[in-house]
């Protein structure tokens, strides 16, 4: 039997998804918010970027179901207890097992059959010569090196067909459901865009999965492990750091910002003093100092972190918290200003005239009317944090080096890019995956802003 492992960040991601579900369920009761959200999905860009984000979330969810495999029992010894491997794997590793297990010895270019560096080898006569050695795993099924591109082409065609088939099933089912339910005639949801995005993701996914079984389609890194595998594993890090750090900023920004704007007086003074002080300290410096503190903590409490995964997870969560704690000031400032404005409006005055208590005025009258700011901040901050992780890892105060992350890959590229010939694939892979996520998040945030910002909402005030 395998042993399930629940890291703290896993639990957080589960609760997160549960609360998003709860939010959607709550949304059904509020017709106005529902209308706004359907406005987001009525736009083609919003729909497409949402599906891309969903795909990223799905991967990070798969990567968050961790377990430990039992070690094979020693021959002849009857053990009472099963020993488990110290390596923590995730469900995603099963899907990507061909990638994970096919390590080479050092760098190799994408689709290469030979290593990137020359090695000393002995020919059949016993003479020593230097050449590019054949890779152990990539293209090992080929009889001859010259067959490679035909093989790639043939497999690509097969993979694309398979991808189309895989996508056709949910699309067909959904179309069938839509035709039968009948009530959807008036909806303006651009399902065709959703279908196309899904088809594209499915085709790319199938192509990547089936080809990566035979080739390193994004090459290998210094120690010969597959770059594609690393960059896919880094998705979880990126998505989690984006959401968790954003979630840390929210309560601080919302509570402090709204109370400053609403109660004014000394509350306002204290909050303003706090955030001006905080934002005058260079963020990087603060983060670097805190990360060093955490490193010290981990070393002095080694017994609590008996697995590498536990250690890197703790460090990762701490990084999210610090990032969040240092970046709530922007939203707080905006919320304070907006609350100052909203609390002077007649309906808030009317509520005061009705003797409504402060908690209800804030909850019912102020919070709903500043939600657009919060929503816009969430989606914008998300992409900012994904990028921040890369920067922090690059200067060496980011996530644990054992943890796969785009920042660590970019950090490694520092020396790779100064080689001649250049090793370009590692940094490109990280760049492409990060770029897709951040672009999708930004496009989605634009749509959310359009739908929720009262200044751009047409036709109703």
């Amino acid at each position: 039997m395998i042993l399930p492992v629940f890291l703290w960040s896993d639990l957080l991601i589960y609760t997160l998804i549960a609360s998003v579900g709860l939010f959607l369920w709550q949304l059904r009761k509020n017709p106005q918010a529902k209308k706004r959200w359907s406005g987001v999905f009525a736009s083609k860009v919003g729909m497409a970027s949402f599906i891309v984000i969903l795909f990223y979330i799905l991967i990070s969810l798969l990567d968050s179901m961790h377990y430990r495999e039992p070690l094979p029992q020693l021959n002849g010894v009857e053990q009472q207890e099963v020993a488990y491997s110290s390596e923590v794997k995730s469900v995603l590793d099963i899907v990507l097992s061909p990638l994970h297990s096919s390590n080479e010895s050092t760098y190799s270019a994408p689709f290469a059959l030979h290593s990137f560096a020359k090695e000393n080898m002995t020919d059949s006569n016993g003479a020593i010569y230097r050449d590019f050695p054949r890779l152990k795993n990539a293209g090992s099924h080929l009889k001859d090196v010259s067959e490679r591109w035909w093989d790639v082409l043939w497999r690509s065609v097969l993979a694309i067909l398979l991808g189309g088939l895989v996508a056709a099933v949910p699309i067909g089912l959904h179309k069938f459901y839509r035709n039968n339910s009948g009530k959807t005639a008036s909806e303006v949801v651009p399902w065709n865009v959703a279908y196309k995005t899904l088809l594209m993701i499915s085709v790319i996914g199938c192509w990547v999965l089936s080809l990566s079984e035979y080739y390193h389609i994004l090459g290998t890194d210094k120690v010969g492990s597959d770059v594609l595998y690393q960059s896919i594993k880094a998705i979880r890090t990126g998505v989690l750091i984006g959401t968790l750090a954003t979630l840390v900023t929210l309560p601080l920004a919302i509570i402090l910002g709204i109370s400053a704007g609403y109660f004014k007086g000394w509350v306002d003074d204290v909050v303003q003093y706090t955030y001006t002080t905080l934002s005058s300290i260079p963020g990087i410096l603060l983060i670097a100092a805190s990360v060093l503190l955490i490193d010290v903590y981990i070393e002095t409490h080694a017994e609590q972190f008996n697995l590498t995964a536990l250690r890197s997870d703790f460090k990762f969560l701490a990084l999210c918290a610090i990032l969040g704690l240092t970046s709530w000031t922007g939203l707080c400032r905006m919320l304070r200003a907006e609350t100052l404005k909203v609390s002077q409006l007649d309906y808030v005055q009317a509520a005061h005239a009705f003797g409504v208590n402060h908690r209800r005025v804030i909850g019912k009258h102020i919070l709903p009317n500043v939600t657009h700011l919060i929503l816009i901040a969430i989606v914008l901050d998300f992409s900012m944090f994904v990028l921040a992780e890369a920067v922090l890892s690059y200067i060496g105060v980011g996530v644990d080096p054992d943890m796969h992350s785009w920042g660590n890959m970019i950090n490694a590229a520092r020396s790779e890019l100064s080689r001649d010939p250049v090793v370009w694939w590692s940094v490109s892979a990280a760049f492409i995956l990060m770029f897709t996520l951040v672009l999708a998040a930004n496009l989605f945030s634009d749509e959310v802003r359009n739908a929720f910002d009262p200044n751009t909402v047409k036709g109703d005030s």
């Binding site: 106005q32 409006l345 007649d346 309906y347 005055q349 009317a350 509520a351 005061h352 005239a353 009705f354 003797g355 409504v356 208590n357 209800r360 019912k364 009258h365 709903p368 009317n369 109703d460 005030s461």
Partner: protein
């Protein structure tokens, strides 16, 4: 006037947004030196007409047919570059809101200069003289010094004068004035109207005056056109129009002006609210320690009383402190000194929680029906909120019944409970606000300019509703307004406020017919009256 040369003619102009037709084929002509008034309520298409003439329509709107001939030029056939030389030079425009039409970071002189340089070749020495001359012409004192002022240093009326000076800078033949006085106080409105009239005479200027105020029309216009829903219903010269309006809607517009000679007398002497020497001062603070260095005296020693079942109108111009005073009675503003007695109980010294039981008795209706309701709450939640928090009715079913009855009473449907504020028009929203105030069964309602944001015909209906409700329930009203014309029909007594003090109070008849204070006399004179000439 000898000439009757046509300056501008509009033939069968149609404007539409998509398939929705907003201006439906209107035609009119403006002669030289004439003031042509385009009258209509909001949404009637009068501003769209003026924007079409200037070719400044927003992109979503299209001119589908018709032509505008200015002098000899067909406006719609000009290129954008040619049009630019028409705008400002031949046709100039002044807007409703002088606060937002001037650039706050440039001095008045620079902004005036810009207009002149754009359209005329003029050398530096002439320029200065011309600028001073312009400001002098629109009646700004010390024009040379004022050129170096920034817009925020000028008053609202002066800003509008500067706007007019800018419009006149290039000696246009036609001036389009889009509600030029709506945002101004009555006394300043009077000055601006007089100025426009003078300019028309001295410069032989044609004016297209867009307004919803029949009083202004009666006083200013030579020709009147009434617009409704994108069509011109009636077009006649001013005297004929007011003497013998043809269309039903025109008659309604004219009749919507309250009569000024019909007073209601005092009816009750039992005091409900007594305010004595009320002061609302705001502290001016300075320095790190926020020391109080002085006070802004918004309300400075005001005394009056409101009797049971009576309406007291507080009349004053913007900045006179009337709204601040209303909010102080509601405890939405801090009271500096003085006493507020409600049914012989002192309210001024009470703490927030002690005041809570009295919130039921004193309610408020605000000016702007668009900001007085939370856009994210349904009408049910809006009306229910006060009933729940002031514990008027604990039973949800009975609350529902009360709310349905209230909505029917104010002229809405019980089904409207589930809708959101943005689904209602301004007048309907104000009715909801009235229902919300009545829901807690108050004895005094403070009405803070409840009709000033409404169209004239709707204004009459809302005032009528308030009157009926007063007769039915015996509620007292403290009616804050700047509009003297609605007072006779509405209030038993009037108090006139200026700069934080009450300068005169008495029965409506007394104040309106024999005003003692010179400010009251000035106010009364400033009101554009229908039958004044």
């Amino acid at each position: 006037m000898i000439t009757s040369q046509t300056v501008l003619s509009v033939n069968n102009l149609q404007v539409s947004a998509g398939s929705n037709s907003l201006v439906k084929g209107i035609s009119f002509e403006i002669k030289q030196g004439e003031i042509f008034a385009l009258v209509g309520e909001s949404g009637s298409g009068k501003s769209l007409t003026s924007l079409s003439i200037m070719r400044l329509l927003p992109e979503v709107l299209k001119i589908t047919s018709g032509e505008v001939v200015f002098g000899q030029q067909k406006i719609f056939e000009l290129t954008e570059t040619q049009m630019n030389s028409v705008r400002g030079k031949k046709i100039a425009m002044i807007f409703q809101e002088p606060q937002t039409s001037l650039n706050p970071v440039q001095t008045v002189g620079v902004q005036l200069q810009e207009v002149l340089k754009l359209h005329q070749n003029i050398n530096a020495t002439d320029l200065q003289a011309k600028l001073v001359g312009l400001l002098e012409e629109v009646g700004i004192p010390e024009p040379e010094a004022r050129l170096k002022w920034y817009p925020h240093q000028l008053s609202g009326g002066q800003k509008q004068r500067v706007m007019i000076a800018m419009a006149l800078a290039c000696e246009p033949e036609l001036l389009v004035a889009d509600e030029p006085t709506t945002a101004l106080d009555v006394t300043i409105q009077r000055q601006i109207l007089d100025l426009l009239n003078d300019l028309r005479k001295t410069r032989n200027l044609s004016v297209l005056l867009i307004t919803h105020d029949m009083g202004v029309v009666a006083e200013m216009a030579d020709t009147v056109a009434v617009m409704q829903k994108g069509e011109i219903l009636e077009q006649a010269d001013c005297k004929t129009f007011f003497a013998n309006p043809q269309h039903e809607y025109s008659k309604r517009l004219i009749n919507s002006l309250p009569k000024t000679d019909d007073f209601i007398g005092e009816n009750n002497n039992e005091a409900l609210l007594e305010v004595n020497d009320l002061k609302v001062w705001f502290a001016k603070k300075k320095g790190i320690l926020q020391r109080t260095v002085g006070h802004t005296k918004a309300v400075d020693g005001v005394s009056f009383k409101v009797n049971k079942g009576e309406t007291l109108a507080i009349v004053g111009e913007s900045g006179s402190g009337k709204t601040t005073m209303g909010k102080a009675i509601l405890r939405l503003n801090p009271v500096h000194a003085g006493s507020i007695k409600f049914k012989n109980k002192e309210l001024a010294g009470l703490s927030h929680s002690q005041f809570l039981p009295h919130r039921r008795d004193i309610q408020v209706i605000f000016q702007d029906p668009f900001s007085s309701m939370n856009p994210r709450m349904s009408v049910r939640e809006i009306i229910e909120e006060g009933m729940v928090s002031l514990k008027v009715e604990a039973n949800a079913k009975k609350r529902e019944e009360i709310m349905c009855a209230l909505l029917t009473r104010v002229g809405l449907e019980p089904e409207h409970l589930n809708r959101y504020p943005h689904e209602f028009s301004g007048g309907q929203r104000q009715r909801i606000a009235i229902a919300r105030a009545l829901a807690v069964k108050p004895e005094l309602i403070i009405c803070d300019e409840p009709t000033s944001a409404l169209d004239v015909s709707i204004r009459g209906q809302v005032l009528e509703l308030l009157n009926e409700l007063q007769q039915e329930t015996g509620v007292s009203l403290l009616f804050i307004t700047h509009d003297l014309s609605i007072v006779p029909h509405l209030a038993h007594r009037v108090a006139v406020m200026k700069d934080g003090v009450i300068v005169e109070q008495g029965t409506t008849e007394q104040v309106m017919t024999a005003p003692a204070h010179e400010y009251t006399q000035a106010l009364l004179k400033a009101v554009p009256a229908l039958y004044s000439h």
